[in-house]
Symmetry: C3
Subunit: 271 residues, 3 copies
């Protein structure tokens, strides 16, 4: 039995799709979703109800000859209900969102990224591959997020050092780093690779690779290698870098990070 | 005069309702709302526009034979516009939400609960009776919230002690406790009964009954009985436990908590 | 070329508009938007899709003879998709919102105000002119915000000193003040004019004019005049009061604040 009202591979009759949009093969589109001019959706994608794809940029409101720049969403996207994706962005394959996500213009998102319910990517951002952004995160303009980065709920990547000013200094987060719940990264802050920002931190200084910081203001607690599990039965296990023990949804699922890396190196060597 | 477009007891013609949903007597359903398979809505409920009830769980996207588990919403619900309630949950009578609330699967909600605008109950949670969750709260999976608990805006109940990991440790909050604005409760934390977590606290340790904690990290300030009103004309009044002086919407409204408790005890004794 | 589905000056046929609403000249209304009884929309406004204007107040759910009080939105509003504005408020000209903003009843908003995506004005509030509220801000009931005030993301203006209680003490913010990201202003707090609250502050005491506070709890750091730019090429520039160097979207754009103020004084003098 198929879901009544959200049948796979079907475009709900109440969806409104611009004649200037290009919809791939076997795409599902939910009720009341709006797809504006110049949107391209890859094959086998599922778009929930009440979404808006190709939302016009600010110029729509002031320029009478405004035309939507292209929005490209690659194959196998799962975009849950109520999400709004602006025109003028490029999104890689296997993209997945929660509900009511907003992604603004001039954003480049790599492959296999997930963005949680109510999060807001404010435009002119770069996200690498396998980025995991949980719900209610605000990623300010000009942010650069590496590969395999995790950002937990209600975190804010800011960009204006003297609000309000005309200076925009985006935050940068290195590969494999983790920003825990409700942290604020101040404008222009650089977080290294494999680092960890603890919950509710206000990060005012750059964070080196493989480093833990926490607090308001955040203090350097040393190396991530000194974080050990305290759960019964797992006491003493090193918990970071997380890629050594966490596999779900990652390209090394089933083989482990080290094996995957070896395979990648071998592949690169052969080519 | 009745509201044009949201007439009581009417199902707006633009709503899309699965033939496999069961709608009670005298239910109002607003425009563009979607009700999927296997949703049961109790009598005299009012569902606002742009809602989705019976949202499919994650398995919908991977299993071709997916069927929606039942969602049961009891009588007299008021669900405001844009709210999304997943299939596979059970919600007691007199449930009320703000706008754009999200309640995910496998959640059990007692009677007379209210959840504010944009709050997100992330699934596999238990809420008691008369719980008041204000707006923008995130209740992580496996959370257990007692009866008469208040949770204020932007509070997060977390569950992963070493993000990202495969460990899920839900937070527990005891009856009558209050979590003030923008607090974070770390994974597995237990808050006792009648306790108070002050605004913007990061709670890292369990909180005993009748105890105030506040700060980042939270510190124990002692007994809730030592919090006195400083407002002119009310100086020196004990403000906690709040149930002794606050009645609005509570089952003891008009008679006071002590009288209500005596009546309950008498009733139990007679039965 | 015009945007297919969001043509300027057109009311999308899927919008539902009460016969008791008054729509001005050259108003654009997007798909699936609902406009209830007694809403007045000024000329040349653009209302995005999926909006609700004239949302009924709480009394709708309990009073069978409920009638919507008027909602007045002045000319040239830009209200982005998914926004909900309650009946019973008055909004000045050139109002602009992000997506999914919520403005509740009995609120008075001056001219040229902007409210960002997902922010929630909880009713019975006063906002002056040229107020800039970024995304995900929660403005509690009874708040009073002056002119030219900036409030950054995830900030909360609270109002209940002993939650839950029946006391409501709104926050007041003076002209030209700035509240940075993720701050909490406790109930009844008064922020003076030209002041600055730093990111992630918990403000427990009133803040005098021209004063910087920061921290959890917030500490007084002294005068705003001692904040100097540290960016290369701009070292030593005084950054506050911001009105001396920031002009975008302000009435002094192109002439500077001082010149604008002189013009105003001259105008007042002549009248």
């Amino acid at each position: 039995m198929n879901m009544s009202g959200f049948e796979r591979g079907m475009i709900n009759p109440s969806a409104m799709i611009s004649p200037n949009a290009v919809i791939g093969q076997n795409v599902t589109i939910g009720a009341h979703t709006i797809i504006y001019d110049n949107v391209h959706i890859g094959d086998n994608s599922i778009i929930g109800p009440h979404c808006i794809l190709g939302e016009p940029a600010a110029e729509y409101y002031s320029q009478m000859d405004y035309q939507n720049p292209p929005l490209s969403i690659s194959e196998r996207a799962i975009i849950r209900s109520g999400s709004i994706i602006y025109s003028g962005s490029v999104i890689g394959p296997d993209f997945e969102t929660g509900h009511r996500v907003c992604v603004r213009e001039k954003t480049k998102i790599g492959k296999n990224c997930r963005i949680g319910t109510l999060s807001d990517i404010q435009g002119d951002c770069i996200l690498g591959d396998y980025v995991r952004i949980h719900g209610n995160v605000q990623v300010g303009q000009k942010s650069k997020i590496g590969n395999f980065v995790w950002v937990y709920p209600y975190t804010v990547l800011t960009n204006d050092p003297y609000p309000p000013s005309n200076i925009i200094m985006g935050v940068e987060i290195g590969d494999y780093s983790v920003i825990a719940t409700k942290s604020v990264l101040l404008p222009g802050i650089k977080i290294g690779k494999d680092s960890l920002v603890g919950a509710m931190s206000l990060v005012r200084h750059d964070v080196p690779d493989e480093t833990v910081v926490i607090g308001n203001p955040a203090k350097n607690l040393g190396s991530i290698h000194h974080i050990f599990n305290t759960q019964p039965g797992m006491e003493g296990n090193q918990m970071y870098p997380w890629r050594e023990h966490f596999e779900r949804g990652m390209p090394w699922q089933g083989i482990g990070y080290q094996q995957w890396k070896l395979m990648l190196q071998k592949k690169d060597h052969n080519v």
